[in-house]
């Protein structure tokens, strides 16, 4: 896309490899939606309006099991509580921006975008907070919607032996190394991951937010331990 600022291209370059995981994740979401009776338009509408894969899959599963609409929405929103933390974490970067920038930033705040933006902003004070972010978010959005469409139309054609959904944890595994650049952060990661595993049996996917919260607390404690 010529004419866009250099930092948009920098973001798009950085995010490109993760699209390899976003696309199959979209396929899974689209196929699952059609499987419980969504139309193509509804499957696409969900990916465009919600753009939060884990909560979409959970909502679809709960809906498919016959739960009432209120429970479906509640389940999805509990799973998305982690976005509050993402929002708080990025808020200082956008404090001087108008709402017309903040709103699309919030709309595109998915896991990969948050993690990659937070790591970049932490390491590079000069990078353009608007354009780099949109360079991450726009390709992810396009890929997510395209993947959903393919899944909704042809999801049944994906061979069962192909572990396409395994690409998602691989992306985060690659991002873990740059995220644990000091000891307190390593503590946050180990505790966060361990709590999430221990809490995997909790209802509503609460293991993930519990792990995130536990990891952050452990990081704070470790931080004051090593640098009082």
């Amino acid at each position: 896309m010529p004419g866009l600022p250099a930092d948009f291209h920098a973001g798009a370059r950085d995010v490109a490899p993760t699209l390899l995981a976003v696309f199959p994740f979209g396929i899974v979401a689209g196929a699952a939606a059609v499987d419980v009776g969504f139309s193509l338009l509804q499957a696409l509408g969900m990916s465009v309006i919600v753009i939060a894969g884990a909560s979409q899959l959970a909502a679809i599963a709960v809906l498919g099991a016959g739960a009432p609409a209120v429970v479906v929405v509640f389940t999805a929103l509990v799973i998305n509580l982690r976005h509050l933390m993402y929002s708080a974490s990025l808020a200082p970067e956008y404090r001087d921006e108008p709402v017309r920038v903040r709103a699309p930033v919030a709309y595109l705040l998915v896991d990969q975008v948050f993690v990659m933006a937070a790591l970049k902003f932490d390491a590079d004070a000069a990078v353009d907070r608007r354009w780099y972010y949109f360079g991450l978010g726009v390709p992810i959005w396009l890929t997510w919607v395209a993947g959903t469409a393919v899944g909704a139309v042809a999801g049944a054609a994906v061979p069962a032996w192909l572990p396409i959904e395994f690409a998602v944890p691989m992306v985060f595994l690659a991002l873990l190394a740059p995220a644990v650049d000091d000891r307190p952060r390593a503590v946050a990661a180990v505790v966060g991951g361990t709590v999430a595993v221990a809490g995997a049996g909790l209802p509503l996917n609460l293991g993930l937010p519990a792990g995130a919260l536990g990891g952050v607390l452990a990081g704070v404690v470790a931080d004051s331990w090593w640098s009082p």
Binding site: T18, G37, I49, V72, A88, A91, Y107, A186, G215, V216
Partner: protein, 109 residues
């Protein structure tokens, strides 16, 4: 049972509004209310590491909901991918290594 069209749309819109509200919350208020206090800002530094690990660990360690080490194909493939991730810090290489390892392990073992 297929849910009614209107119900599905209502769910989608409600999820969308709620999710956007969660994402917009602090970003939307930043600068209009008091700034994030220093202790909170210090805590938020740990969000990426904690969240990433909370996504990755269960995906590799759990099989059908319980912690499994022996005979866990995904954990083994994840270990291969982790080695590549630490050496290269490259997302594409990590995906290829992890998926490739998983396919090989599932085929051979």
């Amino acid at each position: 049972m297929t849910p009614a069209d209107a119900v599905v749309w209502a769910i989608i819109v409600a999820m969308g509004i709620g999710t956007f509200a969660l994402r917009f919350s602090f970003i939307g208020l930043s600068g209009y209310v008091e700034d994030v206090p220093p202790w909170l800002e210090r805590a938020l530094r740990f969000v990426p590491a904690a969240v990433i690990a909370a996504i990755v660990f269960p995906a590799l360690v759990l099989v059908d909901g319980s912690v499994t080490v022996a005979g866990n194909d995904r954990l083994l493939a994840g270990a291969v991918a982790a080695a590549v991730a630490w050496r290269t810090e490259d997302i594409l290489a990590t995906i290829v290594a992890g998926m490739g390892a998983l396919l090989v392990i599932q085929t051979v073992l």
